[in-house]
Symmetry: D3
Subunit: 235 residues, 6 copies
C-alpha cells in the first residue's frame, strides 16, 4: 500500500468475517490443538503473552497498523469493531509503549469486542483484569503515547511469526495466540474436532498406563535412527 | 562522587522526604496516571516487574548503589529506612543475582518499609508473597551474593530509564514503577487528581458508546495526515 | 558419546537415585536455601521459570537430550521414569518449541513422576495447572514438534548453568531450579537443615529489630573498605 | 499447505523471476533507498546482518522452509537455483544452528547464485569471506545439523518482519535486507531512481550548508507542534 | 519539563562547552582510561557500539530527545551544532529505527561535527564509513522515519546508563562511549593523564615479566579472602 | 568445591596439557570441522565472538572462575600460564564488565599465552587488535572492575554450553570457540583430519556441479519423508 509519495494509509470499513458459531466453537478448542489441527501453523510466537490466566477466546480480527508510540489509529479502529471481534494491533517497528489501557477497553466492551492482541505494550493491567477484558501483549508498560502519525485499519499486518488479514480468526488462551485464515475457519473447526476426539482417546490410553513409545510405534523408528537401549552408560 | 583514588562510597543519613499524606494519596492513583499527569515522565521501563499481583504502593526512595552480586550495602541501607520508605537498589553493572530475600524483608517490615524496587534479582519469592512484602525486580534468582565490595546509600542512582534521588517518590503497581521528583510531589498529586477526574468523565462517555475518534477530534486530524476511509482495500 | 560416524544415541535403563526420604525432605527446604547450603552452587539460572505458583518439589533426574523441535526422545524417557522422578529435558541447541503438553503429563502422572524441567517450551499450560502437574520451562509455546531425530535418555546433560547427571536431585519452587549431585544429597540435606536453623534464628533477631549490619559485623568491614557515614551528600 | 495428516511439503520447480537487468540495477541502489522508495516497506529487520562488509547485491529469492537444526531442504533447494538467484532460508521456529558453510557455498557458486539470507546461523565464515560468497544471517555458529525432517522449497515464507514469495527480489547490503515483490520490481526501480536523484540534489544543498530544517519546511511544522526555541533551558 | 498539558518541547540555543583543547586531548586518551580516571563512571553501556573500527573522538554533546521513529528533531538539532560537537540522540522509548543516514551526516560535516551517538538505529552505514563520519549506535536498520512528533534539543537526556547534559564531553572509541560532565572536563583530563603515566609504567613492568599478583599485592589479599594455592584439585 | 562455610577457593598449580604438536595441528583445522569430527560436540555457543577477524588458534585451557565485576583471580591465573595456553574465564553469574585489557594482555604475551576466551566483557579492544593478542568475549565494555572477591584457578568451569576442565583443548576462530576434552585431543585430531579429507573431496565434486542431493542420497530420503516435487505450488 503505497503511492508515489510514501505509504498509503486507509481505514477499510467492510471486511468479511467467519460465522459467530464457528468462532464460539473454536474458542473452546484451545490454541495448541487448533495449531496442530491446521498443519502446525498459525502460532504468532512465545513473545505474545496473556496478562490474565485461564481465559480462552476466539474472534474476528480487526487489524491495526500503527507507528510506534502512537495510538491514534487504535481509536480509528474502534469504530470498525462489532460483537465477536478481536482487535489485533501491529507496529511498523518494535515498540514497548503502553498503547492501550482501561479507557479503550471500556470503549471496546460496549461494542462486544472480545479482547486485544498487540505486539507492543498495554497498561492499566490491574483494571483490565478487574473489568474482565482479556489482553495478549508483548509488554506491560506505563509509557504514554501520542496521536500524530497516520496508519491503517483492516489491512494485512504481520504479528510475530504470522500475517493476519482482517477477518481472520484469532484464537487466544494461556498458551498464546494462533491465527486461522478466515476461509479455512470451517475446515479448521472440523480438523480440530477430529483431533480433540483423537486426543481424548490418547488421554484414556495414556492414563491407563500405555506408553506413547508403543502407541506411536516409536520403538522401531528410534532404533532405526540409531538409538540403542543399554543397561548402563558404559553398557 | 569520586576522589583521586577511585569512586567515593558514602552512606548519607539525612535526606528529605515528601509528606506521608502525599505518598498515601499518590499510592492510590496508579502509575500510568501519575506518569501521564507529570508530562509522560518517570517510568523506569518494562523490565522491572512485580512478583505479586494487585498491589499499589508509593513511598520515599532510600537509594542503594551496589556492586553486582554483593548485597552488603543493602544491609547498610536498612538502618536508614523509616516508615513510608521504599528501598530502591541499583547495580553498577547489569546483574541477575538474588540480592534480597525473606530475611531482609523481615528486617525492613519492622521499620515500616513499604516495598523494594531492584534492577537485579530477588529470591524467596513465595515467602515474600506470603509475608505481604511487595517487590518489583528485574529477575527472580536463587543465585547467592557476597558482602565484599563497598557501595553507597542515599546517593543519586540510575534505575532503568530514570535517575532517582534519595527522597524521591516511588509509585509502583501492576504496570511497573514510576518515579516522581520529591519537589514535584505536591504538583504531581494535583495533576494526577485532575487527570483522574478527566479519565472518570471519559470512562462515562466511552461506556455510553461515544468514540475516542470524536471526543479527541481525531477524524479531521487523521484525514489531514492522509488517512482515507474506504469501503474495501481496493476502494 | 560419539562413535566414528557421529554422536552416539542411547537410552540408559539403570540409574542410581537418592533415597525418597531424602528427596521428600529436600523438597520442603526451598531452592535458595539448598543453593546456599551446598556452597552457592547448583542454580540453573533465571531463564527457567515455573508455570504455576506456590509449588515446591524435589525428585531424581531422568535426563533427556533432544534435537530442537523433536520430542520423540521424551516419549522414550517416560518408560524409564518411576515414582519420585522429575523429567529433565535439554536441547542440543536453543529451542522455543512446545515440546510437552497435557498428554505427556497424563502419562507421567500414572508413573508417579513429580514434575518437568525443560530448557525449551511447553503448551496446554492451563490444563497442566488444572491437572496439578508442575512444570518449570524456558518458554510457553504452542509450536508443535516432530519425532524424527534420535537423542538420548539418562546421559549427562547441560541445563542452563548446570550439568545434570541422571539420578541427580532436582529441587524446584517459585525461585527456579537447583541441582544437587546424587552423591551429595545426604550432605546437602544436612547442610540445609543447619542453614534453616540459622535462618530461623536470624529471622527472630531481625524481626525483633536487630540489624544485619550488626549481626554480620558489617559496620567495621564496610568502613575498612572505604565506606563513610555522612550526614549529607556534601558532608 | 497442509493435508489432513500434517503440513504438506513440496519442492516447487517453476517460479517466475524479475529480469536480470532490473536485479542488476536494484543491486546498486542500496537497501535504505529501495525501502523508502517503495513506501517504507520490505525491511526484514536489524537481526539479519552481513558477515562481510561493503557488498551490495540483489537477486531472485529461492525460498526454503526448514525445521530448526536440519539442513536437508537447503540441499534440495540448490537444484532449483540458477544464475541471479539468492537463497532465502527461514526456519519453522527460532534456531541458532550453523545451517550453511563453505561446501554449500561452493555448490551455489557453480550455479551463479549471488548470496544467502538466513534467519538461523552460518559457519565457515572466514572461508565464505575468502571465497567471496556473501551471506546475511541471524547468527554465526559452529553448531552442526541433521537431515531428518521434511520442509519445502519455493513456498511463501516469513523472514523477520516480511513475507517472501519465491521470485521476489531480495536486496542486501551493509544495512541489511529488503524484499521487493516480484511484480513491483520495475516500479521499485523507477521509484528508487527518482529518489536517488532527489537524494543527490539534497546532498548538494546540505553539503553547501543549507539546513534540513529549511528544506523540509520543519521550522513552522515543529513550532505548530509546540516546539519552542529558547536561549536557555529556563528561558 | 512539562506544563499542565503534557511534556514541554524546547530547542535550547545557548549551551556552555568545554574548551576545544581539552576535548582534543581527551580524544586521545581512550574511553576505558577516562572511565577509570573519573572514578569508574560515565560509561553508557555495551549496547552502544561503533559502526567503524579504529576511530577515537571527543566532543561537546548537542543532545536530542526524540519520539521513536521520528527524526524531525535531529534536523532541528543540526542548526545548534558547531565545530567540535558530537550529536547525542536519545529516544523517549526503545526504538530500532534507522534515524540517521548519509544526508544528515553530510549536513553535520559542513558544520565540523565530529560524530553521532544514538540509542536507536542508523542506515547508509557503508556510505558513512566511506565519508569518514563516525557513528556509535544501538542498531543498524533500514527502517525509515517520519517527522510528526515534537521533541527537544539541548535538554538533559538519558543515554543507556548515563544522564547527558548539553555541553558534556562525550568520548568514543572502539570500546564504546563515556560521558564526562562539562565541569569535570579539566579534572578528568588531569586524572586521565596521571593514569596514562601509571599505565605506561605498569606496561613496562608487566612486559618485563613482573606479575600483577605482586605489583598489586594480591597474593596476601587473596589468601586472606580464603584462596588456597594447591598442587592438584584434590590437594 | 565447598566446605561447611561456603564455596572453597583454590588456585591449582599442576594441570595436564595436550602436546603442543597436537594443539598446533588442531589450530589449523577450524572450529566447525573439529566440532563435527568429535560428534557435533564442544561448541560454546554463538554469544562468544571474536574481537578480531581471520585468527585461528588452539591451546590448553587455564580456567578461571570469577565473581562478576572482579578480576583479581585473572591476575592469579597469569602466574599459572605457560606457552601454548589459552586463558578461559567464566563468571559465577552473568556479567558485562570489561574484565580484561591491554595490560593483562601484555602480561600474558610475555608468557606465550595464545589468547583469551571470556564469558564477560573486555576493553582496550583497539590496543588488543594492534598488539595481536586474540580475544573471544561475550561483550566489549569499558566498565571497570574491583579485586575484592575470591574465586578459583584451574577448576572445572561452565563456559556457555560447555564444561571446561583445566588442560582441555580450546579451539577458536571466526566461527567461535570449541572445547575438546584433553584426553580426546589425539582422537579429535585424527577424526578432524579424516573429515578434512572428506570435505576436500566433497568440495571438488560440488565445485564440479554435482549436487548434495545426489551425493548424500537425499532424493529418496526426502521423498520417503513426504516431500513432493511439483511444477507449481498448486501442482
Amino acid at each position: 500500500m503505497t503511492n508515489a509519495h510514501g505509504p498509503r494509509h486507509v481505514v477499510v470499513r467492510n471486511i468479511e468475517r467467519a460465522p459467530l458459531t464457528v468462532l464460539d466453537q473454536l474458542a473452546t478448542v484451545g490454541t495448541a490443538t487448533v495449531h496442530e489441527a491446521i498443519g502446525r501453523r498459525g502460532y504468532v510466537g512465545p513473545h505474545i503473552t496473556p496478562i490474565q490466566q485461564g481465559t480462552k477466546i476466539a474472534g474476528s480480527a480487526i487489524t491495526v497498523l500503527t507507528h510506534p508510540g502512537d495510538n491514534g489509529m487504535i481509536h480509528a479502529a474502534v469504530e470498525q469493531c462489532t460483537a465477536g471481534d478481536i482487535l489485533v494491533v501491529a507496529s511498523t517497528a518494535p515498540s514497548t509503549h503502553g498503547m492501550f489501557g482501561d479507557l479503550l477497553a471500556a470503549s471496546l466492551m460496549t461494542r462486544g469486542v472480545r479482547g486485544l492482541v498487540i505486539d507492543a505494550g498495554v497498561r492499566d493491567t490491574a483494571d483490565l483484569r478487574e473489568m474482565g477484558f482479556p489482553v495478549w501483549s508483548q509488554h506491560v508498560s506505563c509509557q504514554g503515547t501520542v496521536k500524530n502519525t497516520p496508519g491503517s485499519v483492516n489491512v494485512p499486518i504481520r504479528l510475530g511469526e504470522q500475517m493476519v488479514d482482517p477477518g481472520d480468526v484469532v484464537c487466544a488462551d494461556d498458551d498464546g495466540v494462533v491465527v486461522v485464515a478466515r476461509r479455512e475457519a470451517d475446515w479448521a473447526l472440523e480438523e480440530s474436532n477430529e483431533r480433540l476426539a483423537n486426543e481424548e482417546q490418547m488421554r484414556s490410553r495414556l492414563g491407563a498406563g500405555e506408553l506413547g513409545l508403543d502407541i506411536y510405534g516409536l520403538r522401531d523408528k528410534l532404533a532405526a535412527l540409531g538409538v540403542e537401549w543399554v543397561d548402563t552408560l558404559d553398557g
